[in-house]
Amino acid sequence: MADSNTAMQDYDRPLLMAGGLGKTYGRLNACQDVSFSLYPGEVLAIVGESGSGKSTLLQLLSAQLAPSSGKVSYRMRDGVMRDLAALGEAERRFLFRTDWGYVHQDPVLGLRMAVSAGANVGERLMAVGWNHYGHIRDTATSWLERVEIDIGRIDDAPRTYSGGMRQRLQIARNLVTEPRLVFMDEPTGGLDVSVQARLLDLMRNLVSELGLAAIVVTHDLAVARLLSHRVMVMKGGRVIETGLTDQVLDDPREPYTQLLVSSILPA
C-alpha cells in the first residue's frame, strides 16, 4: 500500500477470472459455462439448492478440481494474471497457504484437531518460514482476540471447542497470512442461529477491515444478503441469474430465483 497509484490500479483489475468453466462427470454436467470476474475486496455469493453445482464450482475456482472446459486465472501478488491450471503443484500449494484461505463447512476438515489453537493459527506462518516462537505466539494471540476467542484457551486443542469457536478459529487460521481471497463453503452451516449471527457479524467486519475478496457458497439467502456484494444463482449446474445482492434478492427476475426467495420461512 506504499504506492497508492498501483493500489488503485489493482482495484480496477480483476483478481480472479473464470471463463466458460465447466465440469462433467461422464454424462452428468455438474457445472457448465460459468464466466465471471471477481475484483479485489469484492464478496460474491453463490446460492442455489443442493445439487445445483455450487460446491463443484467452488472446487474448480480454488483449483482443487481440474475443469473439463474453460479456465480460471488469478492475479498473483506480483500483479501477473496466471492460469491456475498452468501452475505447478508447488506454486498452487504455496498460493493455497499464503494468498488464499479456504473455510470449510465442517471445521474438522480445516483444522488440526489434535494440536493447540495457537499452533493451528501459527502453522501457516511456520510454513512460510517464521522461525521465532515468541513472534508466532504473539501473532496467534492477536488473531484469537480478533475472532473473539478467549486467549486463555490458546493452548487448548480445538476438539475441546464448541462449534462456533471452531469455525472462528478456522477463520483466524486462514486469515493469519493476510490472504487476498477467501473461499467459504457454507461457513455457517450446522451452527445455531445466534452463533450464526455472531459469526456473520465477525466475518463482515473482517472482510471490510482487511479488504478481502471472498467467494461464499451458501444455500442460506440471509448469509448472502449480509455478507455479499454480488450474488450468482445456480440451478442444474448453470448460472441462471447474477447481479447486485439487493437487486437479485429484492427483485428477482428468474422464476427459480423468485421461488428461492419466497421459500424463506418468515422469522
Binding site: E89, A90, R97, V115, S116, R124, V128, Y133
Partner: protein, 294 residues
C-alpha cells in the same frame, strides 16, 4: 539331513543386491526415504529387522561387527544379532567401537568418535518424521517432495506451548544436507550433534515400514529449532557412577525400592574403557577383567 546351510549373511544374493541398490540411492539423496522390498527376518518386527537387512547387505568376510542396543553391547537384542551374524556370516565381532567396521545400533551413537571407513547402521521403527502430525502417507511424501516442512515446527511449537521448552527428547527431527527433514530413529537428542559432519557412513533401515535412508560422510545435519528456543542437548546432571565420566549419555538405574538410583554411562564400551584406564566413579567395584564377548 544336515542342518540347513545359509548363504553368507543369511540373505540370498539377489535380495542383497536389491537392498544395496536402495542403499546407493539413499546415499545419493541424503535423508530421502527409499522404499525397498523388506524381507521377513527370523526375528519379530521391532527387534531390528531393518537394521539386520542393511547389515546383511553390506557385510563382507573381512568386516568386524559391533552391535549395540541402547548403547549396551550385552543386552539380549545386541547379543542375539551379534551371534546371528557370527553364525551366518562367520565375521569377527567386537565390542570395541574403534575396532569395528560395521556397527549396528538401536537408539544410540557410540561415545567414542567414529572414523572414516566405519558404517553405522540404525534400526528404525518409524522412519517418517511427520507421521504423527499427518497420517496420510501420500500427503507426507508430497510434503517431502515439495520441502513443505512448516508442520514439523508445529510439533516443536506444541512442546513449548505445553512444557515451556522443546520437550522432544528422542527422535528429534533433523534437516539433512539442507533439504530433507529426517527422523534420526529414536536416538536421544544428546546424540544429534554427533550426526553432523560425521566421517562415518550412517545407514537407517526400517524393516516393517520398508524404508532405507542414509547420511553420507561429512554431511550437514541440523536439528530443527526456533530462534528464541534453540536446540539443546540433554543429559542427567551427574557423573557416571562407575567411571566418573561427565560428558557421556547416562542411564538412570533404580537400585532398590527405596528410591535409590545411580547414573551410569549407557555406552558400556566407553565406560569399560575408561575404567580400564583407571577412572573411577562413586560406585565402582573392581575393574572389568573380560573385554571380549565370544
Amino acid at each position: 539331513m544336515n542342518a540347513p546351510v545359509y548363504n553368507f549373511a543369511y540373505l540370498d544374493e539377489q535380495t542383497k543386491r536389491m537392498i544395496r541398490r536402495a542403499i546407493l540411492k539413499a546415499i545419493a539423496i541424503p535423508g530421502y526415504q527409499v522404499p525397498f522390498a523388506s524381507r521377513e527376518m527370523p526375528m519379530p518386527y521391532g527387534w531390528g529387522t531393518g537394521g539386520v537387512q542393511v547389515t546383511a547387505a553390506i557385510l563382507g568376510p573381512s568386516d568386524v561387527l559391533k552391535v549395540i542396543d541402547q548403547g549396551s553391547d550385552d543386552t539380549t537384542n545386541a547379543i542375539s544379532i551379534r551371534k546371528f551374524f557370527a553364525r551366518t556370516a562367520g565375521v569377527a565381532t567386537t565390542t570395541a567401537t574403534a575396532d569395528a567396521t560395521v556397527i549396528q545400533t538401536r537408539h544410540r551413537i557410540p561415545e567414542a568418535p567414529l572414523h572414516g571407513g566405519q558404517v553405522l547402521v540404525y534400526q528404525v521403527p518409524i522412519p517418517e518424521p511427520l507421521r504423527f502430525l499427518e497420517p496420510r502417507e501420500t500427503e507426507t511424501r508430497r510434503m517431502h517432495a515439495l520441502a513443505e516442512y512448516g508442520l514439523m515446527h508445529v510439533k516443536l511449537y506444541e512442546d513449548i506451548a505445553r512444557f515451556g521448552h522443546i520437550a522432544t527428547s528422542y527422535a528429534y527431527p533433523v534437516k539433512v544436507n539442507a533439504r530433507y527433514v529426517m527422523d534420526p530413529s529414536p536416538t536421544p537428542k544428546f546424540d544429534n550433534p554427533k550426526m553432523d559432519n560425521c566421517p562415518a557412513l550412517q545407514l537407517f533401515g526400517a524393516g516393517r515400514e520398508k524404508r532405507i535412508y542414509a547420511i553420507p560422510p561429512y554431511t550437514s545435519v541440523v536439528s530443527l529449532d526456533f530462534e528464541d528456543h534453540p536446540f539443546t542437548r540433554y543429559r542427567f546432571d551427574a557423573p557416571c557412577a562407575l567411571c566418573g565420566a561427565d560428558d557421556s549419555y547416562l542411564d538412570e538405574i533404580v537400585t532398590d525400592d527405596q528410591g535409590s538410583r545411580m547414573f551410569v554411562c549407557s555406552d558400556t564400551d566407553y565406560c569399560e574403557n575408561r575404567q580400564a584406564q583407571g577412572h573411577r566413579g562413586s560406585e565402582s567395584a573392581a575393574p572389568h577383567k573380560e573385554r571380549s564377548h565370544g
